[in-house]
């Protein structure tokens, strides 16, 4: 497959070209944040840093309509009503630009939930088929990055349609899927210099450094499950806000609520966070996860124990399991109180080794 070349000065023009055929979500700088925005004229896509939020929004919008309903009064007997339901409109084809390899891997983990585990979610499925990822390979690791702990890497190809590598004057674009190839078909082939630089980059990828052996993590988690003092200490700083879960590329929990005005309304699906006490609060007032400690435990457990125990390790028996975490580090970087999920996992491992 030939690498194509996208010159930095052509980035906006190329983005505009994509935006003609697709809904293009491109990262732009706004203050301290880098956010995905639907394409608008004069926009400057910013590929210099990982976006603040993951591109999950493209596949699983923060709120979406599951159905609409309308009540109609019976004119014969005004105390009687009839209800009519309507299905949501299908999604439009979308291209997401400027995500990172860790984010692209998140797509696989979302697939596990919405396509593979049991019931197929048709809304997600449609969006999933309709969405292409143009990923930027990472040149270096930030100090919150740990993609290599969970089976990824700064140039991991998993989940992407096109992978961009920074080279002199722009990007070498490598198509990874047929759809990705079509996306970059109009770009010129990369020149010899760019080809060479790309080859060099692929030959000696950014070295992420050593990663701890996490094979015991699921087991260690279960061993520590009932040690509430441990979880209390790990979670004492937690504010129970939704930063970690909302920015996460793999967190997929949602709430379903009805919103109505007058005789019409919608049933909405909205991102939810397991860090909130209301997440598991039952009508009776009983709450199985009553404290921050319980809730943080669930988040760590889901990512590093429940998910890996449900799905086979990609490397076969005895290999490192698949975690429901891509190591993007957003939950660490944006946490107001610097809760570090890496530290919690390491504490679990250390705790397990103590006699």
């Amino acid at each position: 497959m030939v690498a194509r070349f996208l010159a930095t000065e052509n980035l906006s023009a190329q983005a505009a070209a994509w935006a003609r055929d697709y809904r293009l979500l491109a990262p732009v700088r706004e203050g301290q944040a880098v956010v995905y925005r639907p394409w608008a004229n004069n926009m400057h896509p910013f590929l210099g840093r990982p976006p603040t939020a993951s591109p999950k929004e493209a596949l699983l919008p923060q709120t979406e309509n599951l159905l609409s309903f309308t009540y109609r009064k019976d004119h014969e007997d005004l105390t009687r009503t009839e209800v009519f339901l309507a299905e949501p409109v299908p999604s439009e084809p979308t291209v997401v630009l400027g995500l990172r390899p860790c984010d692209a891997r998140g797509r696989k983990l979302l697939d596990r939930v919405f396509l593979e585990r049991g019931v197929v979610d048709p809304l997600y499925e449609k969006r999933r088929k309709n969405t292409l990822f143009i990923t930027v390979a990472c040149e270096r690791m930030e100090n919150t990055c740990f993609c290599h702990w969970t089976g990824g890497g700064p140039t991991s190809e998993e989940g992407s349609d096109v992978l961009l590598f920074a080279v002199a004057g722009g990007y070498a674009a490598k198509a990874l899927t047929g759809a990705g190839e079509k996306l970059i078909a109009a770009l010129p082939e990369a020149g010899p210099a760019a080809q060479e630089e790309l080859a060099a980059k692929l030959a000696t990828p950014a070295e992420p450094g050593p990663a701890p052996d996490l094979r015991q993590a699921p087991q260690r988690f279960l061993e520590a499950f009932d040690d509430m003092d441990f979880w209390m200490d790990e979670s004492a700083r937690c504010l129970s806000c939704g930063v970690c879960t909302y920015l996460c590329p793999t967190c997929s929990c949602f709430n379903i609520t009805d919103e109505n005005s007058g005789m019409k309304g919608k049933r909405l699906r909205t991102w939810d966070t397991c860090m909130s006490a209301q997440y598991t609060l039952e009508g009776s007032g009983h709450n199985p996860r009553v404290s921050r400690a319980h809730r943080l435990r669930n988040r760590v457990g889901h990512k590093f124990c429940y998910h890996p125990r449900e799905f086979p390790a990609p490397g076969g028996e005895g290999a490192q399991p698949e975690f429901s975490c891509t190591g993007c580090g957003r939950c660490i970087k944006s946490c107001p109180v610097s809760v570090d999920i890496r530290r919690i996992v390491l504490d679990l491992l250390e705790k397990g080794e103590r006699p």
Partner: protein, 199 residues
């Protein structure tokens, strides 16, 4: 009464004991009044949570008028004294949101002041007509606002606020290069961000 064209949406929160009676008196006296006002009766002006006003203004009202008993006449002795403090702070707060403080007013009208009520409603309605429709969050932005140099440094967005030089580990530019506010302006709606600054 002057013809003010189409109706705007004005919400009135009226206390049960004085102002609702005042409005009723105006009606019984068959005073001619503007028809923009929708009245919601509350037990006391002290019942009016400033959030009632904020929610009304942000959800489709063009103006909100609160009216209660005159100070010292409150049916519950003190309700309107508390209301006065809260509503005054709300009035002073609204402009930071980009909501003209004229869109909200609180007055005292007793049950016998039918003609005073008529005057209040007429004047307030005229004021809202002068201000025009309330801007809406759901509409696209109307202004192109240059953020550069306009805000103090304190908005935790020094790059945006002061146009200060921003050195980023950025592949879009050679290492150590300077990003201008134009790079940062980001959203398509902000081409107004000026070049340069002190960068």
């Amino acid at each position: 009464m002057p013809d003010m064209g189409r109706d705007f949406r004005i919400i009135g929160f009226l206390c049960n004991w004085c102002s609702y009676g005042g409005a009723d008196a105006a009606g019984v006296a068959r005073f001619s009044q503007p028809t923009d006002l929708r009245i919601i009766r509350v037990p006391c002006s002290g019942r009016v949570d400033p959030m009632f006003v904020a929610k009304a203004l942000l959800s489709g009202a063009d103006g909100v008028l609160v009216s209660g008993c005159h100070p010292r006449d409150c049916h519950y002795s003190e309700g309107n004294f508390y209301a006065r403090r809260r509503l005054e702070m709300l009035r002073r707060f609204l402009p930071i949101l980009g909501v003209d403080e004229g869109r909200f007013e609180y007055v005292w009208v007793s049950a016998s002041e039918g003609s005073r009520w008529r005057d209040m409603v007429t004047k307030f309605t005229e004021k809202i007509h002068d201000l025009g429709p309330m801007p809406r969050m759901m509409e696209p932005a109307r202004t192109l606002c240059s953020l550069e140099g306009m805000l103090g440094q304190s908005l935790a967005q020094p790059d945006m606020a002061s146009g200060a030089a921003l050195v980023l580990p950025d592949w879009d530019k050679p290492a150590g290069s300077v990003l201008t506010p134009a790079d940062i302006a980001g959203m398509g709606a902000e081409p107004g961000a000026k070049e340069g600054g002190n960068g």
